[in-house]
C-alpha cells in the first residue's frame, strides 16, 4: 500500500472534516457541554449523528452490520475529532471496544447498539495512575455459573456514561475480559471530571456477580484480545493526537500572521519561524508513522505492534510540542479560557496518558527490539 489515502479514503476525510468542523465544533460541543456541567461530557445527539454517517460501524464487519473498513478509516475520523476536540465515545466504544469483541459471541449483544449510536461502551484497565496492562491485579473468582469480580479501576474514559464496560481481571486461568453492564449489583461508579473536561470514572467492584456469558472470548484468553483492542485504541489515540497537534499548529501559524509587535508581524521573526517549521516537520513525521501503523494493522502484519508503539509515542510527543509552542506563541491570550489553544493543551495531556504515554511506548518498543 502506498502511504497516502486512497480516493475513497480521501472522500471519507472530506465528509468527516466538514461534518466535524460544523457539528463537532468546540463552541457547539466541548464548551457547550462543559459550561452546562454535563455529567457525560459529550452529547448523545452527536453520537447518533455519528451513527447516521456510518462512523460507528467503520471497524465492524459487513456481515455484522458495519462498513467493514479498517484502522486507516477510523483514524481519518479520529484526526478530525482531534482537530475539533469533539467529545464523543468514538475512540473507546467504536474503536477499542469493537475491536476487542471481534470474532467473539459478545459482539451480537453489543454491536447493534454501538452501530446505532444508542450504546456507549468503556474499557476498565488501569488500576493505578499509570497505564500498566501487564500488571493487572484485579481478581475474578469462579462463583455459581459465573464469576465474582472485586477490585478497583480508574481512568475509565466514558465510564460514567457507559452501558457496558470491558473489565480486565485475573482468573486462575489467566487474564480474562468481562462485559459488565452498568446496573450490576455491587458496582460503584464515581464520575470524575478530568482536566480536559471529559469525564473519566473510578470503578469499585464489591463482589459483582456476572454470568459466564459475560466473558469476552475465552476464560484465560484475555491477553491476546486485550493486545488487539489496545493496538486499535493506541493507533486511534495517535490519530486523534495528530489532529490535536495539527489544529494547534494551524491556529498558531495563523496567529503569527496576524499579531503585530515592534511594528512587525511576529511571524517575521526568525526565532519563531524556525520553531514553527520544526513543528511542521515533526507533525508530518508523526502523521506518517500513524498512517503506517494503521496500514500494518489493516494488513495483519506481524510488524504492526512495534509501529503502533512508535506512532503513539511519536504522535504524543509531537502533539505535546504543538500545544506547548501554541500556548507560548500566543502569549498572554494563550493563557485565557476564552482562547481555544489552552483547550488543546488539556486534551493533549489526557490523550497522551490514555493507553500508555510516550515513555511507556518507547520502553515497549525497546523490549520488542530486544534491549
Amino acid at each position: 500500500m502506498p502511504l497516502y489515502l486512497t480516493d475513497d479514503q480521501a472522500m471519507l476525510q472530506e465528509t468527516a472534516r466538514s461534518f466535524m468542523a460544523e457539528e463537532g465544533a468546540i463552541a457547539k460541543q466541548l464548551r457547550h457541554w462543559r459550561d452546562r456541567n454535563c455529567k457525560d461530557g459529550f452529547g448523545h445527539g452527536l453520537w447518533k449523528q455519528f451513527a447516521e454517517l456510518g462512523f460507528n460501524g467503520i471497524l465492524v464487519d459487513e456481515a455484522d452490520g458495519g462498513l467493514g473498513l479498517g484502522h486507516v478509516e477510523a483514524g481519518i475520523v479520529l484526526e478530525e475529532i482531534g482537530r475539533n476536540l469533539t467529545p464523543s465515545p468514538f475512540l473507546v466504544s467504536a474503536v477499542a471496544f469493537v475491536e476487542a469483541l471481534k470474532g467473539t459471541a459478545a459482539r451480537e449483544r453489543w454491536y447493534p447498539g454501538i452501530i446505532a449510536g444508542d450504546t456507549v461502551a468503556a474499557l476498565a484497565l488501569d488500576e493505578g495512575a499509570k497505564h500498566r496492562p501487564d500488571a493487572i491485579e484485579m481478581r475474578a473468582e469462579r462463583s455459581g455459573n459465573g464469576f465474582s469480580l472485586s477490585g478497583r479501576k480508574q481512568f475509565v474514559v466514558q465510564g460514567a456514561s457507559a452501558d457496558v464496560t470491558l473489565v480486565a481481571a485475573q482468573t486462575d486461568e489467566g487474564l480474562t475480559l468481562f462485559a459488565v453492564e452498568k446496573d450490576a449489583l455491587g458496582l460503584d461508579v464515581e464520575g470524575v471530571r478530568l482536566a480536559d473536561s471529559s469525564i473519566g470514572a473510578r470503578l469499585t467492584f464489591a463482589d459483582v456477580q456476572v454470568d459466564a456469558d459475560a466473558v469476552i472470548g475465552e476464560v484465560g484468553g484475555g491477553a491476546e484480545i486485550l493486545d488487539r483492542a489496545l493496538n486499535a485504541g493506541r493507533t486511534g489515540a495517535a490519530a486523534e493526537l495528530v489532529g490535536v497537534g495539527a489544529a494547534s499548529m494551524d491556529m498558531t501559524v495563523d496567529y503569527l500572521k496576524q499579531r503585530k509587535q515592534f511594528g512587525r508581524l511576529i511571524g517575521e521573526f526568525q526565532a519563531l519561524q524556525f520553531r514553527a517549521a520544526h513543528l511542521y516537520s515533526e507533525l508530518e513525521i508523526a502523521r506518517a508513522a500513524t498512517l503506517k501503523a494503521q496500514q500494518l494493522l489493516d494488513e495483519g502484519s506481524p510488524d504492526a505492534e512495534a509501529m503502533v508503539s512508535v506512532a503513539k509515542a511519536k504522535a504524543g510527543r509531537t502533539s505535546q510540542l504543538a500545544v506547548q509552542e501554541g500556548v507560548q506563541m500566543h502569549g498572554g491570550i494563550g493563557m485565557t479560557d476564552e482562547y481555544d489553544i489552552g483547550l488543546y493543551m488539556k486534551r493533549d495531556r489526557v490523550l497522551n496518558e490514555l493507553f500508555g504515554d510516550p515513555s511507556y511506548h518507547a520502553d515497549k518498543l525497546a523490549r520488542m527490539k530486544g534491549y
Binding site: Y4, V253, L265, A277, S281, L291, A362, A366, G370, Y371
Partner: protein, 387 residues
C-alpha cells in the same frame, strides 16, 4: 498472477542470478562504494560485475527512460526493484552525483541532444560528476556567487573559484553555477554550465576535514574555455535549474538519515544499554524518532511519485533526516565509550566510529544548512511573512 507480481518474481530471480554474494554484504568503508568514472577504481571484481550487470539492464536508474540508459520502469515497478534489492541487502551498484543530482535536472531542463549525450554515460557509470555550487563568499547565500562566465563568441570563458566541491579531485566533469550577467539582480544573472575537469585551467586542492578525510576540494578556474552547447536551460535562468537540482540533492542527503536498512539502533547496542538505563532511554526515544522518520521517507517517496508531495517537502526531509543522523552518531559514540575514541588502531578499524561521527556533522551544513531548510519550510509551506 498480476503483472506486478510476475514482475516481482522475475526481478527476484534476476537479482538472485546477477547480484554477486559479496555485493550483499554491508560495505566495510567508503572505499567499498563504487563511483564509476573514466578511470574507475573497483575494490573487487564483484563490484565491477555488479555495476555492469545493473547498468546493462538500465537498473542503475530504473525509472529513467530506456533511450537515456534507464530501465524505463513506472513507479510501482521501480519500487519493486528497490524492495527486492533491499530484501537481499544488495549494495547500491553505483554512487553517482550524475544519477542523484544532475540527471533529474537534465531530464527536466536539458535539450534532447544533451539528454542523449550525457544521460547514458551517467547511467553506465562512465563519467563521474562533481557539483560546482558553493564559493568562498557564497555559502548559505548561494545566489551571491561570483564565478565569472563570459561569452567569447565561439566559447564561454570561465574564471573563479568554487569550494566544498565533493570529490572534485576524482571527478571527470563538473556541473557548475556561473555568473553570466553581473549587472542583473543576483538570482537573474546565473547560468548552469557543464564542462570537463580535464580542461586546461581547472585545478583542485583537497581540504582536510576534522574527520581526517578530504572528501571536499577547493576548485579553481583560470581562463577555462567551454564549448557553447554545454549550457543547460536558458541563459541567465540557471537559478531555476540550480533550485530544482538542490531539491534532489536534499532528497539524497535526507535518505542518509534513514540509517539504511537494519533495525532499531538499540538492537546493535543492547549489551551496553543493559547497564545504562539513562542511555537506554535516550536510544529508545531515538528509535521511536528513527522508525517514525522511516515511515515518513516511505510516504514522501510514494507521494513524490504521484505528484502529491509539496515542492518544498525535500527541505523538511533534509532537515529532519540529517538532524536524526547526527543524533544517531552521538548515541553510537556514547555507547562506544573509550573504544570509540580510538583514531588509529586495528580494533577501531582506523577510527571508523569517530570519523563517521565527525562526518555526519557536515550533513546539516552541505546542500543547504538546517537553518536554510527551516527558512524554506517557513516561507514556502507555512507561508509566514517576510521569510
Amino acid at each position: 498472477m498480476t503483472d506486478l507480481e510476475s514482475f516481482r518474481s522475475e526481478t527476484r530471480a534476476w537479482l538472485e542470478a546477477n547480484c554477486p554474494p559479496e555485493m550483499r554484504e554491508p560495505m566495510r568503508d567508503e572505499g567499498d562504494a563504487c563511483w564509476g568514472g573514466r578511470n574507475p577504481t573497483f575494490s573487487s571484481p564483484a563490484q565491477k560485475q555488479w555495476m555492469d550487470a545493473m547498468a546493462a539492464r538500465g537498473w542503475t536508474v530504473p525509472d529513467w527512460p530506456a533511450d537515456y540508459g534507464g530501465g524505463g520502469l513506472g513507479p510501482a515497478e521501480t519500487k519493486i526493484v528497490r524492495q527486492e534489492m533491499a530484501r537481499i541487502n544488495a549494495r547500491n551498484p553505483l554512487y553517482s552525483f550524475g544519477i542523484s543530482m544532475l540527471g533529474p535536472a537534465l531530464l527536466k531542463y536539458g535539450t534532447e541532444a544533451q539528454k542523449l549525450h550525457y544521460l547514458p554515460q551517467i547511467a553506465r557509470g562512465e563519467i563521474r560528476w562533481c557539483q560546482g555550487y558553493s564559493e568562498p563568499g557564497a555559502g548559505s547565500d548561494l545566489a551571491s556567487l561570483q564565478t565569472k562566465c563570459e561569452d567569447k563568441g565561439d566559447h564561454w570563458l570561465v574564471n573563479g573559484q568554487k569550494v566544498w566541491t565533493s570529490y572534485a579531485d576524482k571527478a571527470d566533469w563538473i556541473f557548475c553555477l556561473v555568473r553570466t550577467d553581473p549587472a542583473a539582480p543576483k538570482h537573474h544573472g546565473i547560468s548552469f554550465l557543464l564542462f570537463d575537469m580535464a580542461s586546461p585551467g581547472v585545478s583542485t586542492k583537497p581540504i582536510l576535514l576534522i574527520s581526517g578525510y578530504s572528501p571536499f576540494c577547493e576548485t579553481f578556474f583560470d581562463d577555462v574555455q567551454v564549448p557553447k552547447d554545454q549550457l543547460v536551460g536558458t541563459l541567465n535562468k540557471g537559478w531555476d535549474v540550480a533550485k530544482y537540482l538542490l531539491g534532489h540533492e536534499r532528497e539524497m542527503i535526507s535518505g542518509m538519515g534513514l540509517g539504511g536498512q537494519g533495525g532499531a539502533l538499540g538492537e546493535a547496542l543492547s549489551e551496553v544499554l543493559a547497564d545504562d538505563p539513562v542511555l537506554r532511554a535516550d536510544v529508545a526515544r531515538f528509535d521511536v524518532d528513527q522508525l517514525a522518520f522511516r515511515a515518513m521517507s516511505e510516504k514522501f517517496i510514494d507521494e513524490l511519485k504521484v505528484g502529491k508531495a509539496h515542492s518544498a517537502q525535500p527541505s523538511m526531509m533534509k532537515y529532519a533526516g540529517t538532524e536524526l543522523n547526527k543524533a544517531r552518531h552521538e548515541l553510537v559514540m556514547a555507547a562506544g565509550g573509550s573504544d570509540a575514541l580510538e583514531w588509529e588502531s586495528e580494533q577501531s578499524r582506523n577510527g571508523k566510529a569517530a570519523r563517521e561521527w565527525l562526518r555526519t556533522k557536515a550533513n546539516s551544513i552541505e546542500g543547504g544548512t538546517s537553518e536554510i531548510q527551516l527558512g524554506i519550510v517557513a516561507k514556502r509551506i507555512l507561508e509566514l511573512p517576510g521569510a
